[in-house]
Chain length 339, copies 2
DNA sequence: TTGAAAGCGCTAACAC
DNA sequence: GTGTTAGCGCTTTCAA
């Protein structure tokens, strides 16, 4: 008995055409679903194709149409649950319109970003959905010049006109801060990301705006910006808590920072919300799981992802802004302050 | 002043060749880095290419070589932090060897899985790394017949010989259960996934094995299998806790189940570990954040992902098993039981 | 070391 | 309705 036959070479359209005794065009019409094909012919072709284990090559098709039908997703860290949620939403919507998603994680590193975008451009993706570092202006311009749709999420790149999808960070931060101010807090710490990032600076602006609205001054020693790594975030949180005249409340800019802050608070032996109130941007699963559950600014993360998938392929370079409202979810990590 | 020039059509190798006044082959040699090219020629070509904003088309290249240099990753839910960690590890390693990753999420649905694998096959990916549902045998066989490398992770598909990478679920579950038994627990609940999944049945086997080793019987009413959705998991956890003679300890099979169990325990007004001890498979970030921190069986998740990337493209169909050891991390959710 | 040419699998335009 | 054909952008002989 001979070796089981394992075709090294996948069947091509030509093979199918020959086996079904029809022309190449006919097979193409069957699989691309346009043009007329007699029902009987179609059936015969499909049978033959199934027998040959034929799958149309996206490579051949893409080359001919000179575009691949997939989209690139550029996040900073897919193990961050926020990006996980976003990706899940994006994936579902992309699949619904028949597009594959190529995933890239930059780790906030501009060089890695450059490398990945270059590769996506080589793949001739139809569009790129990105949480960009704020660098690489030339690169993004090249991408647009090449005809690749670009949709930024949460952040922008100075000098680049591109569609941008985002939650209203400023409004979210403002409502969180207002919540704390209304509870009587006057010394509210802010732990945020690098202000080079749009989302970070908008959140900080919201925090300041809320203070200004009620004529409370911001103590600059209580405003700390840090990179999104566990170590630096933790160190920054500690610095905030150890300030000479420490804050009675803390507003943290995302879930990674929130983890760090919560850990630091615990390590300090402080209790939430008795010693310090806590509000976090992003409603990740653990916010409800810890004790007390954390008051958060919730983003419609999954919808954001789905919307990105639906938007990116039609994104016009003329800056188009899509702003979704976030929502304050009050839980038990925030309490009234009696000075 | 005329409109800024935005080439609708990306420059091709031919354009570069013409502009640099060399042959097509020469340009190809420059960018594919094989064959000899004079240094001066190379430089000229590179300059011209940069000026034209040229990027080699992966489509053309893939068609010619009849394989795309990317790999498909098929998870069930990328918003699950376990898959996020895994993907992060995979991405890093794949990037290091110059491969793109196409991400797919099945939601444990065989039909969705079929759809995605079909698409990956059409894309002519070099390999597929999958956490498969246990169905679709024919599909996986087709994939292998087409010459696509397949690497299963954590699970297998009946009837398919494929390389499989996994943590030693049985050993992990066993050590978790032994830990509880050593603490004096005799009624240990098990909340696991569907036993159709290899990982689930291995974990259950480990749980049973630990009992057998010390001659403690397993009360079948304390063994509950559930789907990985929040609702069903929560309902199952409640059922376990409300059993007539409830368990004094609980071993849960993954982080989603763990979330559900913890929530159910809280809603029941029980306290951990006084009323019930808890061990979970997967060391996700919130395990350290909740109070008390949860004892877990930690997987080297990121390494698993990196190893998958490095393995998949050489994976031989002859079943090859790679088993990594998990590690019990004792924290404060488990305590001695004094019957 | 370089140029010319064939062809990878597919689509679309055209002829029948 | 269906067959034929000309490329899409690239790699790779084969000559020069």
């Amino acid at each position: 008995m001979p070796d089981e036959q394992r075709p090294r070479r996948p069947a091509t359209m030509k093979d199918v055409a020959a086996a079904a005794d029809v022309g190449l065009g006919t097979v193409s019409r069957v699989f691309s679903n346009n043009g007329k094909v007699a029902a009987s012919t179609r059936q015969r072709v499909e049978e033959v194709a199934a027998r040959l284990n034929y799958r149309p090559s996206a490579l051949g098709r893409g080359l001919k149409l000179s575009t691949a039908s997939n989209i690139g997703l550029l996040v900073t860290d897919i193990s961050n649950p926020f990006y996980g949620e976003f990706a899940e939403g994006l994936l579902g919507a992309a699949n619904a319109i028949g597009h594959h998603v190529i995933l890239c994680a930059t780790g906030e590193d501009p060089a890695t970003e450059r490398e990945y975008v270059d590769l996506l451009l080589q793949e001739r993706v139809g569009g790129i959905v990105a949480f960009p570092t704020s660098e690489n202006r030339e690169l993004w311009r090249s991408a647009q010049d090449l005809g690749t749709r670009v949709l930024f999420v949460d952040r922008t790149v100075p000098g680049i006109e591109a569609a941008c999808l985002s939650v209203d960070h400023q409004a979210g931060a403002r409502s969180a801060t207002e919540h704390l101010l209304a509870l009587g807090h006057r010394r509210i710490g802010y732990l945020g990301g690098p202000d080079r990032l749009t989302s970070g600076s908008m959140r900080e602006a919201g925090y300041r705006r809320a203070h200004a609205d009620v004529d409370v001054g911001v103590d600059e020693r209580l405003v700390v910006r840090t990179r999104f790594t566990r170590e630096t975030a933790y160190a920054s949180a500690v610095r905030l808590l150890d300030a000479p005249d420490p804050p009675s409340a803390l507003f943290v800019g995302n879930n990674v920072l929130g983890e760090a802050a919560l850990t630091a608070v615990r390590d300090r032996g402080l209790s939430v919300p008795d010693d310090i109130s806590l509000v976090m941007f992003d409603d990740v699963s653990w916010a409800k799981l810890v004790d007390p559950p954390v008051t958060v600014v919730a983003q419609p993360t999954r919808q954001l992802g789905a919307m990105a998938a639906r938007t990116v392929l039609t994104a016009r370079p003329e800056a188009q802004q899509l702003l979704l409202p976030p929502q304050l979810v009050v839980r038990r990590s925030t309490a009234a302050f009696y000075g």
